[in-house]
Amino acid sequence: MAGEAGFEHRWRHVRLLFLAFLGLWLLFTLFPLYFMAITALKTTAETNLTVPTFWPEVFAFGNFAAVFAEATNFDALVDSFVIASLNTVLSLVLGTLAGYAFARFPRQAGGENLAFWILSNRMFPPVAILVPMFFLFDSTPWGTDSIWSLVILYLVFNLPLATWLMMVFFRDAPPELEEAAYLDGWTPFRAFFRITLPLVLPGMISVAMLCWIFAWNEYLFANLFVGTDVRTYTIVIPTFTHGSQTLWNLQMAFSLIAMIPPVTLFILLRRYMVRGLSLGVVKG
């Protein structure tokens, strides 16, 4: 106990120590991002110097334009956007239906164990399904190289998330309001859309954003399934090379551009996102 009292006495110093630790961590977090940003502004020659520079000698703002000089790079962003959005809509519609059923009619919908089974799908390694799905899509007329293969495959991780989170949000919405509406002669359909859905809308938005970010950032499936007709930006960035030389500045410039949507979404919606990221267990 004496030690503890001594600790309290030294709290001022300890506080400084903690602040220093936080500062070090910020340095560790931000240094790579800083270097990413300045590399995006360097010329190709400068990125290949034997002694790297920590401030660009010449600012090459043209890198950002150079990224989009090739039309395929812009197409990659479009493909990523379309795939992520379609997948989000699909996950959200299916997830909302199931989540509502689990929250309001638990016994008729299969109960808690089925809900937990759906969630468990999110936690299994994707390699277990990669190979068979590849050959399954390969045998369809449109092949693996289409947006639909990714839109469907991304359901593996987004559909369980959407179902589970919507279930948690619907549980928070009081059923008494709906029951009052039934007494007024409303149909369950109308009560759902007019009363309960507006109540869970903030939660729904956070689920949509999370699903969208996960689909936007996905790499493994995209790398294997698409690449010729459809290319997502995540698989395009590592391919920026000139002969044997890696064009780091263009890779970093493209990465910075691709970071904008998820970072913006996070800053705007961080309050809601915590609930989603913790599977609804932690109230944000």
Binding site: E8, L97, A98, P125, P132, N217, N223, S255, R275
Partner: protein, 324 residues
């Protein structure tokens, strides 16, 4: 045996006593909920269960790529499993996985918890808290392929930024060969810690914010010091939240393969391979379907055990919170 009923803990009440979850009269036809749940379940059966069954079938056969298309593969019992379990490559990858989980996932949860509590207890201004929170969480918003490319670039041995910075600071006297055997896995772990410490950080921080202030006022009235409050009140109350953060990180880390793929391709000489990466490599690049299937089923079985245990715990936590 029946669990003892604990006053104030609804999860131990008998079913008939549970007023909150009593059966409500069903307002819709009993087929409606079944249809609502049936759609997602059907989708998941198609994209998860079908492939798993397919994998199990081929893990018992000597399938390779030509055999797969001509239908020419024979039943060979558990030979594929014997090959996998007996191979040094697999055993090494298990050790790598253990190293990665303990220094990746576990370290991330500890660091995230410490940082979250420091941010909450030590930083006073709300503006600074928000700014620091956003800055710390930034790496998490990056896709794994960019994180991999970025760290491969930073850790380039000859002219990478990290080596140069360490040299300038006088911390090292020669370039560290970040992608040599024995170090390359550590490089991946560093990149992963950079990328994902934000998740436990964010979860624990939010958990701390939502703890009731009344408890802390009571502690202050009793004259408890800050250190004691953190140790005796905050940490015990955040136990479940920290556990959930750990579960999420652990299951994610277990299926993780992207950074290995982008940063080192498992090399040099297979020194940074994880089991999931080998399964991927054997099945997709080397077309040993049968063996890859055995890998996948083994990984699937291990994660089934882990996930089941975790979900049991989550179920308990959510019951206690009245969420499930």
């Amino acid at each position: 045996m029946r669990q003892a009923i604990v006053r104030g803990d609804p999860s131990t009440y008998p079913d008939w006593f549970d007023g909150k979850r009593r059966q409500r009269p069903l307002i819709v036809s009993r087929w409606v909920p079944i249809a609502m749940v049936g759609l997602p379940v059907a989708v998941l059966l198609a994209i998860v269960i079908y492939p798993t069954v397919w994998m199990f079938y081929h893990s018992l056969r000597d399938t390779n790529i030509t055999g797969l298309f001509t239908g020419n593969h024979a039943y060979i019992g558990f030979a594929n499993y014997a090959t996998v379990l007996g191979s040094e490559r697999f055993q090494d990858s298990l050790i790598h996985l253990l190293q990665y989980l303990s220094f990746g996932a576990v370290l991330q949860v500890i660091l995230g918890t410490v940082l979250a509590l420091i941010l909450y207890e030590v930083v006073r201004s709300n503006l600074w808290r928000t700014v620091i929170l956003i800055l710390v969480v930034l790496p998490m918003m990056l896709p794994p392929s960019i994180v991999g490319v970025l760290w491969r670039f930073l850790l380039t041995p000859s002219n990478g930024a990290v080596n140069q910075a360490l040299l300038d600071l006088g911390l090292i006297s020669a370039h560290i060969e970040w992608f040599n055997a024995g170090i390359s896995l550590w490089s991946i772990i560093i990149a992963d810690v950079w990328n994902w410490t934000a998740l436990p950080f964010l979860i624990v921080y939010s958990g701390r914010v939502s703890l009731p202030p009344a408890v802390y006022e009571a502690a202050r009235v009793d004259g408890a010091g800050q250190w004691k409050v953190v140790r005796r009140i905050t940490l015990p109350m955040l136990k479940e939240v920290i556990a959930i953060a750990f579960i999420l990180r652990f299951t994610d880390a277990f299926k993780f393969v992207d950074l290995v793929y982008v940063m080192t391709s498992g090399g040099p000489a297979q020194s940074s391979e994880l089991p999931t990466y080998i399964a991927f490599q054997r099945g997709i690049r080397e077309f040993a379907i049968g063996e890859a299937a055995a890998y996948a089923i083994i990984i699937f079985a291990i994660s089934a055990v882990i996930v089941t245990l975790f979900l049991q715990y989550m179920k308990r936590v959510m019951r206690a919170q009245g969420l499930a």
